[in-house]
């Protein structure tokens, strides 16, 4: 395991380095700067220049990049330019929310995806299979922002069972928090669950046709065990890869869902930061998202290896 990680580390770092160039570069290319955002609509050019000077925006780009990376390495992210507060505080605040949302969505993705996959592949009832197919296709063919608005209309406005938006941190009041979490994570999870379900269904169908399942069937192993003990573990590795990619999708999709459900997460922060040109916030945040993605990929590979003994022992 460790040697595997060591081997993957350079390329992961390379991705991070490239990402940092890209993030830094894109931000400087985007017109509008934090100084004019700060100065307000009635500021004169002198004011803007003063603010630019104070924020260090007049320094050469290389120096700006250096001080950014230097800050990252020393663990000091510095203050945000426009939004206010320390960048680190802003990001940790949003991170908690996004992690909650993503984990909630991941839970739904896995639960619904498994249900879709297993029922779709093995249900004897044509009716159940049709329902599953309609559900997965539906989840994939209605845009998430429509799903979100519909969910709110149904569960918060028509039938007031769940809050329409906002968040209570999970550690503060778990029972309330879960209710706030339910709709956004469901909305976020639906497309991923459908994708996962499809892959799982294909995987289960494929593994159920494998000869070792035939062997087990011929030996009298009951269907439930055939499915869960014999077919599923073999269907999982590719599904895990898909799931790893889906986590990326979930993080990316959070921008939209967080807006719909007023979820104060990283997506919102990223959008705000970008709209207001808050360089430190956007830079650190995007780099964090890239890091998370890279880590998830590593984790996916490890889980993949762990699931498949042939790779595990080699």
């Amino acid at each position: 395991m460790r040697s595997y990680l060591l081997k993957r580390l350079p390329s992961a770092l390379l991705v991070l380095l490239l990402a940092s160039f890209l993030i830094f570069g894109i931000l400087r290319l985007v017109p509008g700067d934090p100084a004019s955002a700060l100065a307000g609509p009635d500021a004169d050019a002198a004011t803007v220049a003063a603010i630019r000077e104070r924020l260090g925006l007049n320094e050469p780009l290389v120096a700006q990049y250096g001080s950014w990376i230097g800050g990252l390495v020393s663990g000091d992210l510095g203050p945000s330019y426009v939004i206010g507060g320390d960048t680190a505080d802003l990001i940790t605040g949003g991170l908690g929310a996004t992690v909650e949302l993503t984990l909630g969505a991941l839970l739904f993705t896995v639960l619904l995806g498994t249900a879709f996959g297993v029922l779709g592949a093995t249900s004897r009832s044509r009716w159940v299979r049709t329902v599953v197919r309609v559900a997965t296709t539906g989840a994939l063919s209605v845009p998430p922002f429509v799903t979100g608005v519909l969910l709110v209309l149904v569960f918060s406005v028509a039938v007031r069972v769940l809050p329409s938006g906002g968040r209570v941190p999970l550690l503060e009041a778990p029972d309330l928090s879960v209710q706030y979490l339910l709709l956004p994570s469901l909305c976020l999870a639906l497309p991923s669950a459908a994708v996962l379900g499809r892959y799982l269904k294909d995987g289960i169908e494929r593994t159920l046709g494998e000869e070792y399942v035939r062997t087990a069937t011929a030996a009298g192993v009951p269907p439930r065990r055939l499915l869960w003990r014999h077919a599923l573990p073999n269907a999982l590795p590719p599904v895990v890869t898909v799931l790893g990619m889906q986590i990326g999708q979930l993080l990316g999709g959070a921008v939209l869902v967080e807006a719909i459900f007023a979820w104060p997460g990283l997506g919102q922060l990223a959008e705000q930061g970008l709209v207001r040109r808050d360089y430190p916030v956007v830079q650190d945040l995007l780099l964090l998202l890239v890091t998370v993605f890279v880590l998830v990929q590593l984790l996916t590979d490890l889980v993949y290896a762990w699931l498949d003994p042939r790779i595990r022992w080699e």
Binding site: G40, R54, G93, S164, Q268, R276
Partner: protein, 533 residues
């Protein structure tokens, strides 16, 4: 940790049995039902028993839905989110609807005869949230603070007119003015008086030490600003509310849902065209303030041909159907007006408002007289749904008059930069503020109208002259002042470098259980007298 949702004042919902049944079925369908049934509900926790209004009562939390977060770095300028200013801080005076100032931290004031100084007497029973007493030094600091260009306050010109301070004890202060200014009380309405020792932390949002009715409990960036009652507030027995929570809900539909679901009790940011969805809701009360939240205008860059021609600009002014824009793009909330002034403004006249009306034939005639039959021009607008709807309507109207317009949806930061650096294309639509107070403020503080330097790059000696006269005339509300203000209006309407479309009123959407919430002229929320029934 007291969670606002679990305050002891909460009452059970009116139909518990039905509610819980629905909850059970609805949530159960969502897989996690079994976990949740029997727990507190996040929904019923926010609702209150409807009962007759038996007068103000103490207690309760009001949740205010806001569409953008509090931005501490913009604390001293007019930001998009100033609601919290009057909750945490106080101003020196407060306008009524007729723009007559009333005491707040200043109990009384006396203008010098020549209008070049004013003596303020301050309350002596005011303390900051941290216990320190409020004194004249805090006012001096507040004025100097606004003079600092880094804080980019729109009323800096007015603040800069204050050139000297004479302290007479801790609670009396004379402000010396470089020249008379008609909008000094606009400054007093606008300027919050922060704690001078913690202002550095204030602009990062760490501490917000004010004298206001509520104190900062916690700012969660991007999520909420939680305030709790200031027990030492100088108005005895106020505020009634225990806590206020400003919750950030950027997305309009989500914001409306939170009002309709009772999760929030108050918002001023329901887009006009969405108000119809809450108007008929018996639990919600829609109140409009005709003192506006600003005005939508069509800006013209006067350095780009053929818009350097006044006739062409006037043709544009005739070609837009303001009533339609009001109805279709803004949901009917506001006042179609060719002039920037809301009805409450001293400069408001019906003649000004209807100076231009919808007359495409006349517009075409004017264009023809200026030698044009077909024009093309880009039009910049913000990429929010509301701004886009206005821009689309304007585009269509201009096209009917023979001006083909390409829309340029732009994100706010880029638009801001172009606004400041005067890089706007030929046409743009945006909102401006500052028409709701003393008319002179508009021309000296609202950037689009600034006589010295504006986005339209319009300059004329005449305009500069009338503006400065109107600003520096001694004594507001006099007939002479009115006449001076009308001259400003005349220039604005005739030159048409800013073509006003609709003066938007602030629309307050509040729970029917919330009473007594008001706004000041700069959209600072005042909840001193607010209570929940």
């Amino acid at each position: 940790m007291t969670d606002p949702m679990t305050e002891p004042y909460l009452s059970p919902s009116p139909h518990p049995s039905r509610r819980s049944t629905l909850r059970a079925t609805g949530v159960g369908a969502l897989l996690l039902g079994s976990v949740l049934t029997g727990c507190r509900s996040a929904v019923s926790a926010s609702s209150y028993r409807a009962e007759d209004d038996s007068g103000p009562r103490r207690g309760g939390t009001v949740s205010v839905a806001i569409n953008s977060d509090f931005t501490p770095s913009l604390l001293f300028s007019q930001s998009s989110q100033p609601l919290q200013n009057r909750l945490l801080f106080n101003t020196l005076t407060r306008f009524d609807d007729a723009l007559k100032p009333h005491p707040e931290l200043a109990t009384s004031w006396t203008y010098a005869k020549d209008g070049r100084s004013i003596t303020l007497r301050l309350r002596n029973d005011v303390t900051y949230h941290d216990g320190r007493r409020f004194t004249a030094d805090d006012v001096i600091f507040a004025v100097r603070n606004l003079q600092d260009p880094q804080h980019a306050a729109q009323l800096r010109a007015t603040a800069a007119a204050i050139t000297g301070f004479e302290k007479r004890g801790d609670h009396e202060l004379v402000l010396k003015l470089a020249h008379p200014v008609t909008n000094l009380f606009d400054l007093f309405e606008f300027m919050i008086i922060p704690d001078r020792h913690t202002v550095a932390q204030a602009v990062t949002g760490k501490t917000l030490n004010g004298t206001g009715p509520f104190r900062l409990k916690k700012w969660s960036p991007g999520s909420s600003l939680s305030l709790t009652r200031n027990d030492r507030y100088f108005r005895p027995g106020r505020p009634y509310l225990d806590a206020v929570e400003l919750r950030v809900i950027p997305q309009a539909e989500a914001l409306i849902s939170s009002l309709r679901s009772g999760q929030s009790q108050l918002s001023f940011q329901v887009p006009g065209k969405s108000i119809r969805t809450v108007r008929d809701n018996p639990d919600l009360v829609v109140t409009t303030y005709d003192t506006g939240a600003g005005a939508s205008y069509l800006g013209v860059n006067t350095t780009i041909a053929p818009f350097d021609d006044k006739t062409v600009r006037q043709a544009l002014a005739w070609s837009v159907d303001r009533e339609r824009i009001l109805k279709q793009s803004l949901g009917g909330y506001g006042l179609a007006s060719a002039a920037p002034w809301p009805k409450s403004s001293p400069a408001y006249t019906e003649a000004n408002r209807t100076h231009y009306t919808y007359d495409p034939a006349k517009a075409r005639r004017l264009l023809k007289s200026a030698g044009h039959s077909r024009l093309t021009a880009p039009l910049l607008h913000l990429n929010s749904p509301e701004s886009t709807a206005i821009a689309e309507a304007v585009q269509y109207d201009l096209q009917q008059a023979g001006v083909r317009v390409t829309l340029q949806p732009t994100d706010p930061a880029t638009a801001q930069k172009k606004l400041i650096s005067q890089d706007m294309p030929a046409l743009w639509t945006m909102d401006h503020g500052f028409a709701q107070v003393q008319p002179a403020t508009l021309a000296v503080s609202a950037y689009p109208f600034n006589e010295a330097k504006n986005t339209s790059k319009y300059r004329s000696e005449h305009y500069t002259k009338v503006v400065r006269e109107a600003w520096t005339a001694a004594g507001a509300g006099t007939a002479r002042q009115h006449a001076l203000e009308q001259r400003v209006s005349d220039v604005l309407l005739d030159e048409a470098f800013i073509i006003d479309l609709v003066v938007q009123g602030s629309v307050q959407v509040a729970s029917s259980k919330l009473r007594g919430a008001t706004l000041n002229k700069f959209l600072y929320l005042n909840l001193d007298d607010a209570y929940l029934v």
